[in-house]
């Protein structure tokens, strides 16, 4: 029992050893499993028709995807620094870091929007071929997570508390984590 009390979340059974909100970790684990299944499906579909996938992939701009990776990971740093600030009782600084994370999230959305507009303008839609079906499906699913994460960050900027900021930041890092795997899969590996 005394050992359980030393854990970050005493009383949460097997989840007691996880830092932050244990339910957020359940969400992170389930999201990772879902995305892992999609990544595996993509990789094996590509194996069935690599010529089609390679030709279609050449129509993406890997520099844009790379720029968005840098933007999102920097946004993740800002969210992590907001957690540090609120834990130290620096509420104004925490709000500023959350604002920076939100701003960079908006930059990610803007770059993604330009990329979608460019592809759709070129007649490349989810129905174009299987690669673009995966491209739009996976990136739009991730994009929905970005929008939800930004809403969470905005909410906790308003309702500022250590637990709230820690939980919203954890979701935001999940968005980072998925993109870090999605970017090489869709844009780089050929």
């Amino acid at each position: 029992m005394s050992n359980d009390r030393a854990l970050p979340n005493p009383g949460w059974g097997p989840l007691a050893a996880l830092p932050g909100n244990p339910l957020m970790w359940v969400l992170i684990l389930s999201e990772l499993l879902v995305f892992a299944a999609f990544f595996a499906l993509y990789a094996w579909q590509r194996a069935a028709d690599p010529a089609l996938f390679d030709a279609a992939q050449r129509q993406l701009d890997p520099l844009t995807g790379g720029l968005n990776t840098l933007v999102l990971l920097t946004s993740g740093l800002a969210a992590a620094l907001a957690v540090e600030a609120i834990a130290a009782g620096r509420r104004r600084r925490a709000r500023r870091w959350l604002g920076a994370a939100l701003g960079l999230g908006a930059v990610f959305c803007a770059v993604k929007g330009v990329e979608y507009a460019d592809k759709l303008g070129a007649g490349l839609t989810p129905e174009t071929n299987l690669f673009f079906g995966f491209y739009y499906g996976l990136t739009a699913f991730h994009f929905a997570h970005v929008l939800f994460g930004m809403a969470l960050l905005a909410l906790v900027t308003w309702r500022l508390s250590t637990a709230n900021v820690e939980t919203a930041a954890a979701f935001w890092h999940l968005v980072d984590l998925i993109w870090v795997l999605l970017y090489p899969l869709l844009y780089l590996l050929r």
Partner: protein, 98 residues
């Protein structure tokens, strides 16, 4: 509240994430002429390793999983390794079957 990574560790992690992103982009040979060809295996391996290491750093430092018990760290790292193995398996299958 568990022990947080601290600003210094966060900044070092961010710098390594930036560097690894640039390394993976360079390794993927993004000039138009090279993009018409398949990546050499070592380049593809480097891209995957960089992605895997970045995901590991996000888990351990940004998400602070380093503060969790070894069982949870092992579970998440195992899931990450499984995901990368599936991606690499599909990639290698495409190389040799295609």
């Amino acid at each position: 509240m568990t022990t947080l990574p601290g600003p210094r560790r966060l900044l070092i992690t961010w710098a390594s994430l930036m560097a690894l992103t640039l390394i993976s982009m360079a390794s993927a040979r993004l000039d138009p002429a090279a993009r018409a060809q398949a990546l050499p295996l070592w380049s593809a391996g480097l891209v995957l390793l960089a992605g895997g290491f970045k995901a590991h750093r996000v888990l351990m430092v940004y998400l602070n999983l380093r503060a969790a018990g070894s069982a949870w760290r092992g579970a998440f790292v195992g899931l990450l390794a499984l995901t990368l193995t599936l991606i690499a398996g599909g990639y290698l299958a495409a190389r040799w079957l295609g």
